[in-house]
């Protein structure tokens, strides 16, 4: 496990050029993370960054399906045996189940198996129909027996909370930061963000939206945010070009195939990062109807087609 206090070099903190806020950086959930705290107090800012990094690492450790021997790993190796989970996991699984209902089965934490047969590496080819059908037989939240707090996952199936985890980490980190400071702050875990309030001068934080095909290089717009969670779904660099057809990396768990013609990316702003992330994912799953869906939700959003 990463050790926060013994390995302080995992976290860096620096003053912004205009000297109005401190920026702390660390890596978690396979993403660069940064925390901006508008304060003069270096120690205070450092303390917040350490706390938030610890929380991000805790959530990663607990829910990542890439870790061995954590809860998710144990569930995925339960071979059909009922497993009792703790309260935090219960809440997250309940949330996933509600999202499954709300999306009419399009958001499904058991759909991870599809990613094993679909590769979006350059030169990859789509799996054959037989493989897709075989894979679909191990997918479907409605086949899981979930009686909180006990989960019975049929043998051969697996769950993946990756579609919720990073946004959840942002919102939990925001709660911690709100407890620790009165100052204005921005939490950015690999593009999933939260802003608590306007800056000291009353102005919003300005957040750049990258061009999905040129992350970090080219921007398609700037968002002025005073409060809320922001999440983006879609990455134009992850697609599969095969025999003149373009397959997006958003997979439909009903068909086992990529969603047809989704936008290149969707960014949503709501009260929390979790909601923003879920609305952005739902929108992508709508394919060409993404805009119509988001308009019906009456939330600020940005679509890159």
């Amino acid at each position: 496990m990463l050790h926060l206090l013994c390995v302080p070099m995992d976290i860096s903190i620096e003053h912004s050029p205009c000297r109005s806020y401190w920026t702390g950086r660390f890596n978690a959930m396979a993403s660069p993370c940064e925390i901006l705290v508008e304060t003069q107090d270096r120690e205070g800012a450092q303390h917040i960054v350490r706390q938030l990094a610890a929380e991000a690492w805790r959530i990663e450790e607990k829910f990542s399906r890439y870790r061995q021997n954590n809860l998710i790993d144990r569930i995925n190796h339960s071979r059909g045996q009922p497993m009792e989970v703790d309260e935090e996991t219960t809440l997250l699984i309940n949330y996933a189940a509600q999202c499954f209902q709300l999306s009419d089965g399009l958001f499904d934490i058991t759909a991870g198996a599809l990613r094993r047969i679909w590769s979006f590496q350059p030169g990859a080819i789509p799996p054959d129909e037989e493989k897709v059908q075989e894979c679909l037989s191990h997918i479907g939240w409605s086949r899981v027996n979930w009686e909180p707090p006990t989960l019975s996952l049929p043998q051969g199936m697996e769950i993946d909370l990756g579609g919720i985890g990073k946004e959840y980490a942002v919102d939990k980190a925001a709660q911690l930061a709100n407890q620790a400071t009165e100052a204005s702050f921005v939490i950015n875990f690999g593009g999933d963000l939260f802003v608590n309030k306007p800056r000291r001068n009353g102005k919003p934080w300005v957040i750049a939206v990258d061009d999905p095909s040129a992350t970090g290089v080219q921007q398609v717009g700037q968002l002025a945010v005073t409060h809320g969670g922001i999440a983006t779904s879609g990455d134009a660099r992850r697609f599969l070009q095969y025999k003149g057809k373009r397959y997006s990396h958003i997979l439909n768990p009903h068909t086992g195939y990529p969603v047809v013609n989704p936008p290149r990316s969707v960014t949503v702003l709501t009260d929390t990062c979790m909601e923003a992330g879920m609305l952005a994912s739902f929108a992508m799953l709508q394919g060409p109807n993404a805009r119509q869906f988001l308009e019906a939700q009456a939330v600020p959003f940005w679509i890159v087609d």
């Binding site: 926060l4 709501t270 939700q297």
Partner: protein
């Protein structure tokens, strides 16, 4: 399909999100981290004993969520403590239990016995979850002094109800003590001048039962009620406490033919059953927190006591806090408490002049100052405790009326605490 068309799912999603995020923040469960608390306690009674006790405890959470805490205390005690004899109008000489040394007390003074002792206490707590709503804590302790060895184990079971608004606890504890008094165990109520053989080691054991309920009344208020029952058996007598034999008319301490003063060893019943009821209320105002508690205690030795405790945590602008503390304590005397025994030929079944078993009232005032640190806290506490009893009881005889038969205990407590994460 719910998603298609213009239907908004936002409200339902917002509600679902709110539920997930409503869970209280988890403490970072890092199995490599040790939550270390250290402290230094200084307790000093005016003209009596002084105790200096460094304490340290370290707790860690394992991958499976179990919490282990190791504790250690080292006490060093020096000074003098009342031996039970009353002041009289002449110099009194006392011989140590081993017979090797003696000490004298001037006329009119409370006889005090010199004390030096060190005590080492080691303990371990193991807290683990049995199910999602049930956990238990197993505790083991060993405490060792020159003449005393105590071993204890206890287990407490806790179960949450009503969405974790209510917690019910049930506990059981066993303590086994071995007492090896300096110079052997004396025979109860025997004269010190009698040369009978003193016994060897003595045993004492106690059984504790606890039943408690903690309830969160609202976001700011928590209350707790505990009931505990203790049964002790074995040697409950203090081998070093004595009683003066008093002349029924003059009130002077009686002397034998050789001019030696007469004292008797104390003797207490060999069982004690006690019950106590404890109630606590904790309420958070906008920022500050008030802690109020009351305890009622009674035992079959005739002691009834009431303890009221009030603390107010005042949050300062700087992030530090100040916590004033007031405690009131009042107890009735044990049925067999006597400041001295009248030398009229009749002896009671049990007798003790231990001031701790007498009627008394205690008042404690204190102030604690705490500085929260990024990974812990530093605090310092200063307290003053005064215990008063019946200095001039109605049954004092003759010259006894001139003396203070329940000297006031005046203690100063200073404690420094430091908590951090390694």
């Amino acid at each position: 399909m719910q998603l298609t068309g213009k239907k908004s799912i936002r409200a339902a999603l917002a509600a679902a999100t709110c539920t997930v995020l409503s869970q209280p923040l988890q403490a970072s469960q890092n199995s490599d981290e040790w939550d270390v608390k250290s402290g230094l306690l200084y307790y000093s009674e005016a003209d009596r004993v002084t105790v200096i006790a460094p304490t340290v405890s370290a707790g860690t959470t394992t991958e499976s969520g179990d919490i282990f805490t190791l504790r250690a205390i080292y006490d060093s005690l020096t000074g003098a403590s009342p031996n039970g004899a009353t002041p009289t109008n002449t110099t009194q000489t006392f011989t140590s239990p081993s017979g090797e040394s003696s000490y004298t007390t001037q006329a009119g003074d409370t006889p005090l016995r010199d004390l030096t002792d060190t005590r080492v206490v080691l303990g371990i707590d193991w807290e683990s979850e049995l199910s999602r709503l049930m956990r238990h804590t197993l505790t083991a302790n060993i405490s060792s002094e020159r003449d005393y060895l105590s071993l204890g184990v206890s287990d407490t079971l806790q179960r949450d109800f009503h969405n974790r608004q209510t917690t019910v606890s049930a506990g059981i504890g066993l303590t086994m003590d071995t007492i090896s008094p300096e110079g052997g165990t004396p025979v109860g109520l025997q004269l010190l001048t009698a040369s009978s053989e003193a016994g060897g080691d003595e045993q004492k054991s106690s059984l504790d039962l606890l039943l408690g309920i903690t309830r969160i009344l609202n976001r700011h208020t928590l209350t707790q009620v505990n009931f505990s029952h203790t049964y002790s058996t074995g040697c409950l007598t203090d081998p070093y406490k004595i009683l003066s034999m008093i002349d029924p008319t003059t009130g002077e301490t009686v002397q034998n033919i050789s001019g030696e003063f007469l004292y008797r060893h104390e003797k207490r019943p060999d069982t004690r059953t006690s019950d106590s009821l404890y109630w606590k209320l904790q309420h958070q105002l906008t920022q500050d927190v008030v802690y109020l508690s009351y305890r009622y205690f009674q035992d079959d030795w005739g002691i009834r006591s009431h303890t009221m405790d009030l603390k107010y945590r005042y949050e300062l602008q700087s992030g530090n806090y100040l916590q004033p503390h007031y405690r009131y304590y009042q107890q009735t005397a044990a049925d067999f408490y006597h400041h001295s025994l009248v030398d009229d030929g009749a002896l009671p079944d049990y007798a003790s002049a231990d001031l701790r078993l007498g009627e008394m009232t205690g008042n404690t005032v204190g102030l604690k100052f705490g500085i929260p640190l990024s990974d812990g806290e530093f605090n310092i506490r200063f307290e003053k405790m005064v215990q008063t009893g019946e200095s001039h009881p109605a049954d004092a005889i003759g010259v006894q009326r001139n003396y203070d038969l329940y000297p006031t205990l005046d203690a100063t407590i200073v404690q420094i605490g430091y908590r951090t994460v390694f």
